[in-house]
């Protein structure tokens, strides 16, 4: 399906908003889908935190609605379902739809000057797969014997019939498989779109970092989500048809399979997955820091290569999730070394971000604040990763709250703040109205402190030896003294949860009554801001020719304003034909 010509705009409501093939509408569908699940997963997090601080005590206000049998307290089996579903929902149904589904869809075609994705129908299917997966997951919350409770990692044999006889875990497997299928469809689309549909004159090194991040993520999704898919199929067969891939012959189980095999398969996918989630956020903040520092992104090419190196490396370090499974020492040490090497490109990224804002003219808008917040929390998360890469310290910290704190700082805090940055930044283009700046700043500062208290607090708890996924830590004498810490974390978490109400208010207030956005409110040069607001169905009336990179700020050649549009031709720029010619071989031809 080519998008060179303008498709007729859909006219009926169903074609326009339900079964839409327009990437902008699909982006919004993903956004609302993701925000809904973010609310569900976030509420679960609040319940989990309440129970960690007050195990077995009734949840105030809402407890009786959710747990009438126990008078409002979370029972142990429900607690296991809570942390299992919280992880699953946040990763597959909140972050993936918001950051990849929504902003991948919205930004890629608009930022590379395309009229739509390469395969609009596949794009629509991608959302409908995600939605049906969401329905399956939602239903699984209410099946008899409860939702899946084997942890989001679903390690067999706990996740087979031996440990999870109920329907919930089967639904979980099906849901994860379906959403994975949708993700792969999206990924095929993103990768193809970036390769094939860049506007004439736009070389790979003229793409905004956002597009790079999304593209790397899509590559990883296309290659590694199938690994999860295969693991899910085999687990499904084990559960439903009685095969024995993951059950070994032991005292009370039989089979010639291997439970550790599942861990290998899961983490071959799972480690790329953490980069799948963070790469789009890195891309977005790489752009936003430059946009709001009014400076070109420092070391743009180095950032692109560093992100590429991390993308490649992410495939060969998964073993660090399995140091305590009894890996052979040689294999363990190799994974340790490889994991440590990833810190080098990550350091380069940090250097570039810091260098970008250094001696700029910072506009501390809400998206900028959130971007700076990402650098801060990802700094904490990245540094704490080193303890877990080193086997010696990992054998102590593995499966403790240190790990929980670490991956929440990287995958939750950094990605969530990155998502907020993206929402505040692209909201005007998506919905035609500005979000409230003051509410937004309040939202940032009131979120920033609790989010750090919560996840840094977990690091301390982990160092003290508190292991994860336990219903009641006070049964252990060596954890008794952690009660004040756990209560503190819970208070911070509840505040963090409550503060998100500011975002909800801001979102809906701005959606209906925000100030009308101009076409380019942030004064940046990337292509999406050269379109009218609201963006027409066909995006670009005429496909632009690209003359400049995405971060042309304070270029002395342009003195009238401090930015240059990517499609803006300055008097001494080369003629259009020359720009088109340089990308003709790799991009879509402008003339046939």
């Amino acid at each position: 399906m080519s998008d060179d010509h303008i498709h007729p705009a859909p006219t009926t409501f169903v074609a326009k908003y339900v079964f839409s093939r327009d990437h902008k509408v699909i982006a919004k569908q993903f956004l609302f889908f993701g925000l809904f699940w973010l609310l569900v997963g976030g509420t679960m997090a609040m319940f989990i935190r309440w129970n960690v601080a007050h195990p077995g005590h009734a949840i105030p206000l809402v407890g009786k609605i959710f747990y009438p049998d126990t008078d409002g307290a979370v029972p142990p089996d429900a607690y296991a379902s809570l942390f299992t579903m919280h992880g699953t929902i946040m990763i597959f149904f909140a972050i993936t739809p918001i950051l990849i589904g929504c902003f991948g869809n919205f930004c890629i075609p608009l930022m590379i000057g395309a009229r739509d994705m390469a395969f609009p129908t596949l794009n629509m299917l991608s959302f409908w797969f995600a939605l049906s997966a969401g329905v399956v997951m939602f239903v699984s919350l209410f099946v008899p014997q409860g939702a899946a409770a084997g942890g989001w990692t679903a390690y067999p044999t706990l996740s087979t019939k031996i440990g999870q006889p109920g329907l919930g875990q089967t639904f979980w497997v099906v849901g994860v498989f379906l959403t994975g299928t949708g993700t792969i469809m999206g990924a095929v689309n993103y990768v193809t779109t970036v390769i094939r549909l860049r506007a004439p004159g736009m070389g790979y090194m003229d793409m905004p970092l956002t597009v790079w991040g999304m593209w790397y993520t899509a590559v990883l999704n296309a290659l590694f989500v199938p690994v999860l898919g295969a693991a899910m199929m085999l687990l499904f067969f084990d559960r439903v048809f009685g095969t024995q891939f993951f059950t070994a012959g032991a005292a009370v189980t039989n089979g010639g399979g291997d439970p550790v095999l599942f861990q290998h398969l899961f983490w071959i996918f799972g480690h790329p997955e953490v980069y799948i989630l963070i790469l789009p956020a890195w891309g977005v903040i790489g752009d936003l820091l430059a946009f709001f520092a009014r400076k070109p992104a420092y070391g743009y090419k180095l950032s692109v290569f560093a992100m590429g190196a991390i993308t490649v490396m992410s495939a060969v370090v998964y073993g660090h999730h399995m140091f305590s499974t009894g890996l052979s020492p040689l294999l363990g040490q190799s994974f340790m070394l490889l994991t440590m090497i990833i810190s080098v490109p990550a350091e380069l990224l940090f250097l570039n971000w810091c260098h970008t804002i250094w001696k700029g003219k910072l506009r501390l808008t809400v998206p900028m604040l959130f971007s700076l917040g990402v650098v801060f929390v990802f700094g904490l998360g990245g540094l704490t990763g080193l303890y877990l890469a080193s086997i010696s310290t990992d054998l102590y910290l593995h499966d403790t709250y240190f790990v929980v704190g670490h991956f929440h700082l990287t995958m939750a805090a950094a990605v969530l703040l990155g998502s907020f940055a993206a929402i505040y930044y692209w909201f005007p283009k998506m919905f035609g109205r500005m979000m409230d700046e003051r509410l937004g700043k309040l939202h940032f500062w009131l979120s920033f402190f609790p989010i750090n208290f919560v996840f840094c607090g977990m690091l301390f708890g982990g160092w003290a030896g508190m292991h994860r996924r336990i219903y009641n830590h006070s049964v252990y004498t060596y954890l008794q003294h952690l009660e004040p810490l756990n209560k503190f974390i819970t208070v911070a978490a509840l505040i963090l949860g409550a503060v998100q109400l500011l975002f909800v208010i801001n979102f809906f207030k701005s959606f209906f009554a925000g100030a009308k956005a101009t076409d380019n409110p942030w004064e940046v040069g990337t292509l999406e801001w050269s379109t009218p607001t609201p963006v027409p169905h066909y995006n670009f009336k005429e496909i632009p020719v690209i003359y400049h990179g995405p971060h042309e700020f304070n270029n002395p050649r342009q003195t009238a304003k401090d930015w240059i549009g990517q499609a803006e031709r300055l008097p001494d720029d080369p003629p259009a034909a020359e720009r088109i010619a340089r990308t003709e071989l790799v991009s879509q031809p402008a003339h046939s």
Partner: protein, 285 residues
Amino acid sequence: MRTGRARAYLAGVLVLLPIIALPALALADGTGARDPFHWMKPAPDISLDGHRVDSLFYTVTIMLAVLFLILCFLLFWPMLAHRTGSRHQVNYHHQGGHVRDLLIAAAISAAIFFVVDGTLLVHSYYDLKQAFWNFTDGSEVFRVEIMPQQWAWNIRYAGADGQFNTGDDIITLNDLHLPVGRRVLVQLKAKDVIHSFFLPNVRTKQDANPGRVTRYTFTPVKTGSYEIVCAEMCGLEHYKMRGTMTIEAQEDFERWYAEAARFAVASFDPTDAEALWGWEWEKTR
């Protein structure tokens, strides 16, 4: 501009709050009055090699704290000093594309890599080789078999004949007795689902899988009673899968062992197929 700057300073101060606020928790906790870090203290280290983890952790923490403070400065100083309206010129041409810039970036990254990651790599390598993954077996080693199940620890000693899975084996539940000062080698194999044998006082853990044997080794050097923890989610009562480890002086241990051996022989039921749940001791590969 002035109010903007003041506000930014305020923001900077607020950002430092996590570092100040968390130790302040100690004040809320009466028992911690003597030690300001009581609220985050790990269980006491009782093993010969646990200090390796502690010292590596603290060393690297100091290094990373320095790096993090540098990051904070690089992040917050521009927020204060390099804002819209500040007088300096934005240098458009310095975009990090020159060879010199690349070399500087590479040098900084390499320096951090060799110092911080290098410390971790080298220490880890020797820690594993000499202690945590040094599973050399022999007569000087004290052997135990442990089979965790949902939700308890089955513990088996070789008994008088020195052979595992025979009628004279000592079997306990959730009650691990060990002599002080002698290296212990544990072989683990799970009964049903995956568990993880975690001794917080020893600073290391090892998963126990159904169907395959894994190993765990340490040398207790302090007598006392400590907790055995399951660190891998293993089902509903994972959270209370708690065992007790008693480290005793050699003579106390021998007394306990002789008594237990007597009971073991007396209570062994050869017709009970379940009684021999152990396995022949697996030789170190």
